[in-house]
Symmetry: C2
Amino acid sequence: MTGWREFDQNLVSHSAAHHLTTIQFLLDEFGYARVSDVARHLGITRGSVSVTLKGLRQRGLVIEDEHKHLGLSDEGVRIARGIHIKRILLQTLFRDVLGIEDEVAEQDACKVEHLVSDDTADAVGRLLHKIETGKAPQQMQKMMKELEKESSGTVSDFPSEKIQKFAELLEQRQTENEGDTK
Amino acid sequence: MTGWREFDQNLVSHSAAHHLTTIQFLLDEFGYARVSDVARHLGITRGSVSVTLKGLRQRGLVIEDEHKHLGLSDEGVRIARGIHIKRILLQTLFRDVLGIEDEVAEQDACKVEHLVSDDTADAVGRLLHKIETGKAPQQMQKMMKELEKESSGTVSDFPSEKIQKFAELLEQRQTENEGDTK
DNA sequence: TCAACCTGTTTGGGTAGCCAAACTTGCTAG
DNA sequence: CTAGCAAGTTTGGCTACCCAAACAGGTTGA
């Protein structure tokens, strides 16, 4: 059971991910981004941002012009865009397919956006696209509506009896399959 | 845009989550769990485990009998079980609904299991249960099969042109909706 | 002109985790 | 009986983040 520590050995950390996407956001929104702007937007001190960005500059992801205005390198843009798209896709999945309240969906997406693999994010995108283009219309729509109705408000106790039993079933089935392929 | 730091302000950290679920696993599997066993299973040193478990003992999640055999308190069991179930549900979602290769699905689930909200996990469980019990049969099945075919192997470049355009559409739509409710 | 202000950087302090290495304990094989 | 080994703990070091506070530079209003 090694491999669980791949957690923090990602392309970028949670912190770095937010620094990058924030710079991109500020550029799109206001046309410029400075250390203070990033700090304000992230709710941390200028000092912290200064130190973090020094690292990201050394890694060649963030650049700075003569007026201390920040920018992203091609690689930086690529990473920031990837993370941002993952966030959108996950949030949409949680909210529109699973029926989660928007705020919770956004928070969950924000927490995991930089952790999910490209493969998974891509599959989420394709699923959403299929649903969008009506390739899974009536029954899917109906199912989603039902899900939405059920998930009214907040779950009081996780896992519920039913879900727990179901998860145990899934686990058992998985164990059996592992036995097959071995 | 504060709130992005809820990341590490969860009930338990990624590390703690794995310590707890490992103890539970060892108890189920072998009937006992010691510091060394946990260390071996997690692939880290006894020293690290010792220190971490001291904290978890102080928080009342882990207990220890006179023979240095580890156990979980009621609260510890509750947390470990919750995380474990989230992992199963997410892994199943990624693998069986999104068509992700099992190993990747497991890794992704492992990375985010302790981060997703109870609400989201619960909704995933209900969705899977609906699919399971045939409440979204033909078209869903067909869609899943198609997804599986498409996602042959690993995504070379994320995001693809198509997914990126789609994500932009989703984002734009979302922005408009925010305008409505404001 | 120059004090006040805003911006950015540096530094010392704190937490969380990891490792390596030294130490303590207790059991067990000669 | 004791030497040796395995298990657990402690300690010093490292990285990654955060903050607060001190400091350095540029702009600007009076």
